[in-house]
Amino acid sequence: MRIWTQTLIPPVITTCLYFLIFGNLIGPRIGPMQGHTYIDFIVPGLVLMSVITGSYTNVASSFFSSKFQRFIEEIMVSPVPSSVILIGYLTGGVCRGVMVGIVVLLVATLFATVDIVHPFTTALVILLASVVFSLGGMLNGMFAKKFDDVSIIPNFVLTPLIYLGGVFYSVQLLPEFWRLASLANPILYVINIARYGFLGSSDVGIGVSFTVILVAAAILFTLCLVLLERGYGIRD
């Protein structure tokens, strides 16, 4: 929060641009999607896109900075268990993800009709997405050896997966092969639960989607904990 101009403002500007260009200018030409106006259709995806990016970059950059400036050693020499260190970074990422999500949601109300059909599901998916992508960011931070490594994954992996995960379209519109291929994209499940929470409709089953997210969270948490315990990237 101390650097809110770097953490909260950029997603707001980006989302405003998306709403203006895709929602107001291009959206009316596309027409309704799954029974909703295009601008209403893209709201869940844009909120989750900000949550994913915010939580991921928060942990990746925080952890890498602590390695780079060596102040991770402050915690390493203390009796703080690895699980607490992990939960600490995770909490930071989740807080930023959730805060960015709320701010973008508020911005969305200026452009679109935001009637959340399933508020609990929406809140839960925002929270779970923050957890999963914070853990992803933690892995990135642990493996990163230089500053470039912190931005490679978000730029070359995360962003394409987000765009191909159905933020701006329904995967039902894709040819059969690409629709099936999209099912391998974990972000598709996150965005579709969000769409179910906001609009009440989804391309994939909610149960399957939650299972995918929870399994991903469990695997990533275990992996991060094991690597942290072994001191991967932080202990010689």
């Binding site: 400036q69 102040f71 050693e73 390493m76 268990p81 010689d236």
Partner: protein, 322 residues
């Protein structure tokens, strides 16, 4: 060789080995112990293995093999408990430079489970003692080099560790600050804190420490008390500044080669363990040579240190040729 640590030993290291992932062998089986309450110097050249030993003790480096006990607690069994007894002042600045000194020390106390009310008192105590109180709300990166080092000492003391490890704490700081740090550390040691110090300023080790370990090429080549170490010193050279200029002809013949004229007003005198400095002065006085000041040519520990390393190098050459 030390087989296990006891609770009256602050640190016990047994057959410690470390090979880094790049294949560099940093420690080849180091064993030593530091008694509780001691002020111990761990000396050695750059890359000798001092920081690796400290790193393993504090969980910054993973050991290849060997045992480390901190106050009798095996780090392999309960590293958390062992670490709670250690305060580390590392060689490199390792706090968040964008934080304030106040937050740095308070957060550190939190990592060790110190209650906030106590942490606030501790922070005030140590920041005041180390003359950092007025800078407590400044950004840490704006502090001078000496202040940063003092901040690391304050931070390391926040949880009142029984063992304080200082890895070159006075590197690159001015003499006045160094003197004040020495005083502070001596006071701390007198209050019962065990201190392990690595330094390249051998004068610092000589002044502060009671016992010394010397590491060379990953091996402990000496582990001895300071007094016994100085008994190994066979000869010391003193530099005398003379009242009046003299000619080399007037140097007393009875002192043989032990007296040399450096320049008309400076004389060097070698004093062996078996001879008396008083006798030398007496002889010089008889020849109307009077000194206005006297100083040792080099630090005693430096002389010994260099001698030990020279002996070690010869020994290695002999072993290799065999």
């Amino acid at each position: 060789m030390i087989q296990s640590g006891t609770s009256n030993q602050a640190l016990s290291v047994s057959n410690l080995k470390k090979t880094y992932s790049n294949g560099r062998i940093a420690l080849k089986g180091v064993s030593f112990s530091v008694e509780e309450g001691d002020f111990y110097a761990l000396l050695g050249r750059n890359g000798a293995g001092k920081s690796t030993t400290i790193g393993i003790t504090c969980s910054l480096v993973t050991k290849s093999s060997g045992k480390v006990y901190i106050f009798g607690v095996d780090i392999d069994q309960d590293f958390g408990r062992a670490k709670s007894n250690i305060g580390l002042v590392p060689q490199e600045i390792n706090f968040n430079q964008f934080e304030t000194p106040w937050n740095i020390v308070i957060n550190h106390a939190g990592y060790y489970g110190v209650p906030r009310s106590k942490a606030l008192l501790q922070a005030e105590k140590y920041l005041t003692t180390l003359n950092l109180w007025d800078y407590r709300n400044n950004t840490a990166r704006r502090l001078s080099g000496g202040m940063k080092r003092k901040l690391m000492i304050a931070r390391a003391l926040m949880h009142e560790p029984r063992l304080l490890i200082l890895d070159e704490p006075t590197a690159g700081i001015d003499f006045e600050t160094r003197l004040s740090m020495w005083e502070f550390l001596q006071d701390l040691n007198q209050k019962g804190v065990t201190i392990i110090l690595t330094t390249h300023y051998l004068q610092e080790a000589e002044k502060l420490c009671r016992n010394v370990g010397i590491i060379e090429l990953g091996e402990l080549i000496l582990d001895i008390d300071m007094k016994s170490l100085f008994k190994q010193l066979n000869q010391e050279t003193y530099v005398l500044d003379l009242v009046q200029p003299i000619d080399s002809q007037v140097l007393p013949k009875e002192l043989n080669d032990s007296v040399r004229l450096v320049d008309p007003t400076t004389v060097e005198v070698d004093i062996t363990r078996n001879s008396s400095i008083n006798a030398v002065f007496e002889t010089l006085s008889k020849h109307n040579i009077h000194a206005i000041s006297i100083q040792t040519k080099s630090n005693r520990l430096e002389t010994l240190f260099m001698e030990l390393l020279r002996r070690e190098a010869i020994e290695m050459q002999v072993n290799q040729s065999e």
